[in-house]
């Protein structure tokens, strides 16, 4: 009896059991199918195509990449990096169609400035100039337009950029939901800066700059259809300063992304696919505000897929993760920054999460928007 006890395994032993041979064949077949170029099957655009998930990616690859294909576009990063004269310049564009236009924490104008500034910042560029194009609905109150413009002025000042050109169109009543805005931005990329999700490699750590899901939940609640009140507000903010601080302190930053539609989960999937690596995150480590969590539980959606507008995800050389965390936390926007996971060699192309409960599961791209479920 003593002999047996001596060789008794420790309390929580686990054995890796491969799936049965047939199951593995199916899993392999699935992985091959996933690697094939997605085909666009729909004849008409649906809301799923706008959500930032699989449907959006398929649309972009099938229609836009196909039509415009060139090496500068191929990386499909948030901003394109261009050589102009002898300098490296980043160029990005974004359109804003949010409804409602005004919500706790900001309005469409704030998003329009911060969104484009952030796309430049995470490309490693110093944001410099923006364009602003407005599509206005007939009947839209001038007072609202003024508020929006003033918010954009303030946001631009805070971000250190100037709006230097623009455009205005008006469409008939019933179109444009009040106001749509498109902004494009240019920034200067310092020599030697080469950020991109394809740079990720096993051993790197993944950080987020603060609690996730604030913006998306705020918008869902602000639409007023759900009869839910909560003290959440949009996290819209310019990340330019935060990024500058991080890049200044930590040379080993591989990639930066701002987590907008599709949420953190979408970015992690982009990392895994672009770099052919695995990503493993820990549910316990992900910062989420209580109210965001409560609202998400009520609706049956996962905060990992909910949009932010002022949060960044950083992939950093594992040896410098602690410095990166300190650099983020030193800035007010990064006070609740956290290391949420790491890049692994396996399983290639997949994002997995260790749940608070200890089990592991996949975090895949959603097809479209996270839909509230009742089941």
């Amino acid at each position: 009896m003593t002999q047996q006890l001596a060789s008794t395994p420790p309390p929580r032993p686990r054995r890796v059991l491969p799936p049965g041979e047939r199951e593995q064949q199916v899993l392999d077949r699935i992985e091959r199918a996933r690697r094939r170029r997605p085909k666009l099957r729909e004849e008409r655009i649906t809301m799923s195509h706008g959500a930032g998930g699989k449907a959006t990616h398929t649309l972009i690859e099938a229609i836009f990449l196909d039509a415009f294909r060139n090496p500068l576009l191929e990386p499909l990063e948030d901003a394109a990096r261009l050589q102009v004269g002898g300098a490296t310049v980043a160029l990005t564009t974004d359109s804003f169609v949010v409804s409602p236009l005004f919500f706790p924490g900001g309005n469409i104008g704030d998003l329009a400035v911060n969104g484009t500034v952030n796309d430049l910042a995470v490309a490693g560029a110093t944001p410099m100039y923006l364009s602003a194009g407005f599509i206005l609905e007939e009947g839209f109150p001038v007072a609202d337009l003024t508020r929006i413009a003033e918010s954009m002025r303030d946001a631009a000042a805070a971000a250190g950029v100037a709006v230097v050109t623009g455009d205005t169109k008006v469409v008939e009543k019933g179109k444009a939901d009040g106001c749509y805005i498109n902004t494009a931005g240019v920034g200067a990329v310092a020599a030697g800066v080469d950020l991109g999700v394809a740079n990720a490699r096993p051993g790197d750590k993944i950080l987020v700059s603060g609690p996730i899901g604030d913006h998306g939940v705020t918008i869902m609640l602000a639409r007023g259809e759900l009869d839910i009140e909560a003290d959440v507000e949009s996290d819209t903010a310019s990340l330019a300063d935060l990024v500058a601080g991080l890049l200044g302190a930590v040379p080993g930053v591989r990639a930066l992304r701002d987590a907008t539609r599709g949420g953190v989960a979408t970015i992690l999937n982009e990392v895994a696919k672009a770099a052919d690596v695995g990503v493993l995150i820990s549910e316990n480590a992900i910062p989420v505000r209580d109210q965001v969590r409560g609202a998400a539980e009520l609706l049956g959606i996962d905060p990992l897929y909910v949009a932010c507008e002022g949060r960044l995800v950083a992939v950093v050389d594992g040896d410098q993760a602690a410095q990166a965390l300190a650099a983020l936390r030193a800035h007010p926007l990064g006070a609740q920054a956290a290391i949420i996971g790491e890049v692994t060699a396996e399983p290639v192309g997949l994002v997995t999460i260790k749940t608070t409960f200890g089990g592991t599961r996949i975090v895949d791209l959603l097809v479209g928007d996270p839909l509230p479920r009742i089941c």
């Binding site: 047996q4 006890l5 008794t8 395994p9 309390p11 929580r12 032993p13 686990r14 054995r15 890796v16 059991l17 491969p18 799936p19 047939r22 199951e23 199916v26 899993l27 077949r29 699935i30 199918a33 997605p38 099957r41 729909e42 008409r44 655009i45 649906t46 809301m47 799923s48 699989k54 449907a55 398929t58 259809e225 759900l226 009869d227 209580d290 969590r293 409560g294 539980e297 609706l299 049956g300 399983p347 997949l350 997995t352 749940t355 608070t356 409960f357 200890g358 089990g359 592991t360 599961r361 996949i362 895949d364 959603l366 097809v367 479209g368 839909l371 509230p372 479920r373 009742i374 089941c375």
Partner: protein, 380 residues
């Protein structure tokens, strides 16, 4: 979050896991079915199978009310939505379920107005706010959700709202379980019983499973520890040779159910003589429709509904997956022709469908706790 976080404590899970493993008889295989789609979702979302020994297989049952809706009914709903001045309202789960000609999202792209709502009360609000429109609520769900539809109809009547109606697709759980029990393809050892359905119907309706079929049933909650504890209770019954109905979810489920809810259903709805379930075929007295006294709220009477029976695509094996005969990855089109982006069947679309759960969460090598530790652990 109270009443949630405590039931997600990993340390207690390890203890339960060891207990469960210890209750397995060496050499014996166990098949336990979780009926509820919500349980399937929790099992995959929290990686619960990592806590079970290899000898216990969880079989996913038909308790996913979205999954069992035949394609013909989706077509009917889209047809309803295409009528002039109709606003169709539906839970989010339904928006991507494919009919013969696309899902609700695709129908919207072609011009219908199908809005997502969180509650039938939201649908009623839309009706009040749009007096010139006819608002239809697509009611889906088992007995968990039927009371909410019923209360909404009663409220509509009390408030004199005339532009609101229900396209009723509520189904009942017992006939589905009976179909599983009578299925020759399947040999199960026990059931993880529906949780929230039981808050309405109580635990008595499951007694026939224990008495007539000799299978233990444990009504289970939805947090990971609830499910593990329920599996533990099932294994204990099996070890002790008992077959009873037990209630692990006693903090929420009253043994006698909710009489007010049952009354509301009874007042407004009645059983259809038969109803088609995707994959299970026609089952008698398994679904609800509006009573004659509430005919003015019955969308099937107010509008013409084609009611065409649409056969599942040949490649689709949802039926066998719903019955637990096939594991999701055993379906010939799983993951290749049928994916969450391009679903052929409902099991892949519904967030709690077994195929969606496995594809989205479970496609991983499994790590399992070892077989029973070779020491007799005394029971509590």
């Amino acid at each position: 979050m109270r009443f949630v976080d405590e039931f997600r404590d990993a340390d207690k899970a390890h203890a339960l896991s060891a207990r469960i493993a210890a209750l397995c008889e060496p050499g014996r295989q166990y098949k336990l079915m979780e009926v509820c789609g919500g349980h399937t979702h929790t099992i995959y979302k929290h990686g619960l199978e990592d806590y079970l020994p290899e000898s216990i297989t969880l079989v996913h049952g038909p308790g996913c009310p979205v999954c069992v809706i035949p394609m013909g009914r989706v077509d009917d709903a889209i047809h309803l939505a295409s009528q002039p001045d109709v606003i169709m309202t539906s839970f989010g789960d339904m928006m991507r379920v494919p009919g013969s000609n696309g899902a609700f999202f695709d129908a919207n792209a072609r011009g219908t107005t199908i809005k997502m709502v969180y509650s039938p009360l939201d649908s009623l609000k839309i009706a009040k706010a749009n007096p010139g429109k006819r608002v239809v609520f697509m009611a889906i769900g088992f007995e968990t959700t039927a009371p909410s539809t019923a209360m909404t109809v009663l409220r509509a009547r009390a408030q004199g709202i005339e532009n609101f109606s229900v396209f009723c697709n509520h189904v009942t759980i017992i006939p589905a379980i009976k179909a599983i029990l009578d299925s020759p393809d399947l040999r199960l050892d026990g059931f993880i019983g529906p949780g929230h359905v039981s808050t309405v119907i109580g635990c008595r309706p499951y007694e026939f499973i224990a008495r007539s079929y000799g299978k233990p049933v444990v009504v289970a909650g939805f947090e990971p520890l609830d499910i593990l504890q329920s599996i533990y209770m099932l294994m204990l019954q099996l070890r002790e040779g008992r077959s009873e109905v037990e209630n692990q979810y006693s903090r929420v489920v009253p043994w006698d159910g909710n009489p007010v809810a049952l009354k509301a259903i009874g007042e407004t709805m009645e059983l259809r003589p038969y109803f088609e379930w995707r994959g299970l075929g026609f089952i008698s007295h398994s679904a609800l429709k509006m009573r004659e006294a509430y005919a003015d709220f019955d969308a099937e009477l107010l509008f013409e509904v084609p009611g065409v029976r649409v056969a599942d695509p040949k490649a689709c094996q949802c039926g066998e997956v719903l019955k637990g005969v096939l594991k999701p990855w055993e379906c010939k089109v799983f993951g290749t022709a049928c994916t969450p982006e391009t679903p052929i069947g409902t099991c892949m679309v519904s967030p709690e469908g077994a195929c969606a759960a496995y594809y989205n969460y479970g496609r991983l090598n499994r790590q399992r706790v070892p077989e029973a530790i070779s020491i007799e652990l005394s029971r509590p």
